[in-house]
């Protein structure tokens, strides 16, 4: 008795909903374990110290049952918000009250889309841009503009052009080890752009999900920390990469004037964030040797990056990329192949990457692919690069 989807029933915004090739590939690789995947943004779950985790779980079940297994404050569990305010943000106004806990930083993006974006809202993105932001914002169908980014941040000439010729309402940025380009804004550009945003009264949505993933342990000051207009500044963070995506927790630092609205939207979305995970993570923040833990993650990612870089240089010197300062990706240009054909043949040969077109608001074709290096074991990184190399050579002979 199934019928074709009756289009009269669906809301207009659904025609702007974007699906994600990454999530489709993730599903594919779950179903077929022979596919080696460079596609996900998957941290390595073994970086979580099991013994600490076990002790924390035990104490939650023993001591926190009435908090951890109940509904909670829509803004989040206060001890967790306090922990974040004390350790994981660098803007002066990030008090515990300013921090709202969300289901991943992704939910922060959805709430901000719902809050700010109508069909006549001008939203500036980086090009390329984090795919999840496109997914969060697209259903609200704003006017997207995009500014090309370079290894040290947005092209300032283009940025000035765009903001002087258009009333831009919101600028969404991912300034540290950007997903997918891996580019990191220089200190100078952070300052300059903060100034431009203040002058033009532009809302900044700064996604700092990778802030603590620098290979040398550097922590760049956020763009937001240079802004005077803190009332127009939202900073998003996430536990997915520094602790585990399994807790599905992130946060947004919300300016005071927008707090009640942000919380009301959060309530409508899902009442409150997972209390059990919030209690566990707040305890983990207290008992983990946090500095040592971050150092071990940074070291792990740095080593994996080295491995993939060497493998590509050795096997496929035609592949072009900048060496990132942090994060979990390489952004690799494979010249002289049709990206569609390359992608399809790689998948058929048991290896997955994300095509660059996914990260373009206009889905523009691109010779770039995003490669994750944090998830596969080293032997699989090697086998994967060999499979890619074979496909590349087959096409180019």
């Amino acid at each position: 008795m199934e019928t074709e989807m009756p289009s009269i029933f669906s809301a207009k915004r659904t025609s702007f909903v974007r699906t994600s090739v990454i999530r489709e590939i993730l599903k594919l690789t779950v179903e077929n374990s022979d596919i080696l995947s460079f596609a996900g943004g998957l941290p390595n779950p073994n970086l979580l110290p099991k013994d600490v985790l076990h002790t924390v779980m035990e104490s939650v079940v023993k001591e926190n049952i009435s908090t951890a297994f109940q509904y909670g404050d829509s803004s989040g569990y206060l001890p967790l918000r306090t922990g974040i305010a004390n350790r994981l943000t660098d803007v002066s106004w990030s008090t515990p009250e300013a921090i709202t806990i969300t289901h991943g930083s992704q939910q922060g993006l959805d709430i901000l889309g719902k809050m700010f974006m109508d069909s006549d809202t001008n939203v500036l993105l980086e090009d390329p841009v984090y795919l999840g932001a496109l997914q969060a914002f697209s259903p609200y169908n704003p006017n997207f503009f995009s500014v090309p980014i370079e290894p040290d941040g947005p092209n300032l000439y283009w940025l000035e052009e765009i903001v002087s010729q258009n009333k831009i309402h919101v600028f969404y940025v991912n300034p540290s080890y950007q997903n997918p380009s891996t580019y990191t804004w220089s200190l100078e550009k952070r300052k300059q752009i903060a100034k431009i945003l203040d002058e033009k009264e532009i809302i900044l949505i700064e996604d700092e999900a990778y802030m603590y993933l620098d290979f040398s342990g550097i922590v760049y000051p956020s763009v937001s920390s240079f802004r005077k207009r803190s009332d127009l500044t939202f900073v998003l963070g996430s536990f997915s990469k520094i602790l585990s995506p399994g807790f599905r927790l992130g946060w947004t630092v919300v300016p005071e004037v927008y707090r009640s609205l942000f919380t009301a939207i959060k309530q409508g979305n899902d009442l409150n964030s997972n209390q059990f995970s919030q209690v566990v993570v707040s305890k983990l923040l207290n008992v983990l040797d946090w500095k040592g833990h971050l150092h071990s993650i940074q070291k792990f990612y740095s080593d994996k990056k080295e491995t993939l870089v060497s493998l590509l240089k050795e096997n496929l010197p035609e592949a072009r990329f900048s060496i990132p300062e942090g994060g979990m990706f390489l952004w690799v240009e494979y010249p002289q192949v049709s990206s569609k054909e390359f992608m399809d043949r790689c998948l058929a040969s048991g290896v997955a990457m994300v095509p660059g077109s996914e990260f373009s608001p206009a889905s523009r074709s691109s010779s770039y692919f995003r490669m994750n290096f944090s998830f596969l074991e080293n032997e699989d990184l090697e086998l994967g690069v060999k499979r890619i190399t074979k496909v590349y050579r087959d096409i180019n002979t």
Copy 2:
């Protein structure tokens, strides 16, 4: 440097965002533990068997680290979806593939609002209606219609009138132990209304969050199970009341034609549901004596209901209510008081209830209050009723 919220920045839909008095009261009672709260919909966290929970946690940390602490399928963790399909839904088409895991059934409501509701979409609600549905749907600003409900379900005369005079797209219902009225649709009305919805091609959003909370252990067949048009039928369920709200997990049974769209919206919202909680709950489903567990919950709620009913009859015979068949609320009419004054003076006297106006799409004033009986200990139920009685008598003398 804070300014007034610049209205040019906020999307138009934000003027329709509804806040919840319940969540505000919840916050108040967290801050001030002297307030006795009948306001929340809070299950009792002690119904969760600690020893089983502890064993499950231990096994998750030992055996499931690579699944539980990673990203996952946007539709949900397959073993959990299978467990739900096998045990917790009664519609014939609820295969594991049909079930999408959400952050509470609340998130299912938000996704369905995003999916179906434009400003010209006619949405029929029950009157009174579950407040969370108003919060989820309101930002999409549909045209709300409402049909009065009676102790055995919607008034059929009004329902026929509304659907024959208007093209209703979506009907949102909560047919078992409704929140807030506690009314439960009769079998006869379930069948008749399923037939009307089929004839008129109306999408049904059936919220069965309380399905397993009957005081005598009866499980009413869902309205959906009587529908022929399964392609226009969504059933929502939740673990919040039968296990714990701390896991923040619910589900939606999604018709095949809408599955990819539903999943794409879920991705945009928050990528996937909390994997850690999904793994824990799927294990709990397997190891708990499920029948015994449900029985003990039903017994607990039934006893608490008896307690509150007796206390009200004894102390304040003016209060009027029907005796519910299940759930966690009484829907109490306090005649001859201004609800605003009564509410304010109750709060000032250290006792909280939710005013009926919260459950009306038009925020219409009402002499009803929703009282939860599952959370307070018996001595506090008694003390609370005494405080309410005193306020009532003070006003009425």
